[in-house]
Amino acid sequence: MAFIDESRAPGLAAISAASPGDYLALLKPRVMSLVIFTALTGLLFAPRHINPVIGFASLLAIAVGAGAAGALNMWYDADIDAVMRRTRRRPIPTGRVTPREALAFGLTLAIFAVLTLGLVANLLAAALLAFTIFFYVVIYTMWLKRSTPQNIVIGGAAGALPPVVAYAAASGNVSLVALILFAIIFVWTPPHFWALALVRSAEYERAGIPMMPNVKGAGRTRLEILIYSIVLALVGVLPFVCGLASPLYGALSVVLGAVFIGLALNVYRVRSGEGADTCAMRLFGFSILYLFLLFAELLGERLLALAAGS
């Protein structure tokens, strides 16, 4: 048995020069931070108070599971990443980590995260985490991403599931509260990614990814961004309407939703020149702020309520 794989470079031993930072990059740390943030909100909205140690371990397992899905995504999409400006510096395209190493790393972490969540929290949460990883890697990355312009619409479910997983970890079930948090992220995903896709459509075209602007055209994409933005503004108010959040959250969600629609209207109206790209990037940037502020307000209110003992 050969201990060193020489098949890729005969005569030269394939010794890894990857740093721990390269492996961290495989986990998509920025996505992981968003997962932790939204999952923490789901965890605290559960009716049963979870022990802080169990809660921390559950959050860690969910974050690592999301990171593992990111690593498996980078393993499968290395060919696409190599031709796109945004992703060509990732560890696999630059050769710092081999695809096999990324695959082994991702699979190991995915199995470990699911087992840990099952042992620490409960089987429902572990099953949901396993489903999230499966959905992101197999349904989105391997299937939808390269085959339909609805890729990020359906695939967005994977990104929206972490608060549901965390809620299940704390409570042992899934309720309307968890589904509302899911819905906010799910509806937020299309306008967020399509705003970027409008600006980077040439890159997606070159990489052969059927994003909405490449397949249905920029005009149709602008219309769908506007429609999703209106739906998002309505869904964003749901936590207040359902009595989960204060009037302050209600007011904040209305204002932020109105700004979101306003920026989407600009994207719809300004269709050519540098102004069009500026409008799209403005919406893209604001969409991140929108999601962060809504969940920060929900999280803050929940922490205050827990501190007050309710």
Binding site: I15, S16, A17, A18, Y23, A57
Partner: protein
């Protein structure tokens, strides 16, 4: 009699040695952290019942 023998096997470059050492340290820290985490989780799950057993 002495001979100028090349070392057997693979000789790592300084960069490979450095990155391997960094990876080993990272793995060590991760395993140590997991030991502490699983210990804490076990104590929380078992609770005071850990001492409640027939002698």
């Amino acid at each position: 009699m002495t001979t100028d023998r090349q070392p057997d096997g693979v000789v790592l470059t300084p960069e490979q040695s450095k990155s391997r050492r960094q990876r080993n340290i990272a793995i060590g820290l991760a395993v140590g952290f997991l030991v502490l985490l699983f210990y804490a989780v076990t104590i929380v799950k078992v609770g005071p019942g850990v001492l409640n057993r027939p002698l």
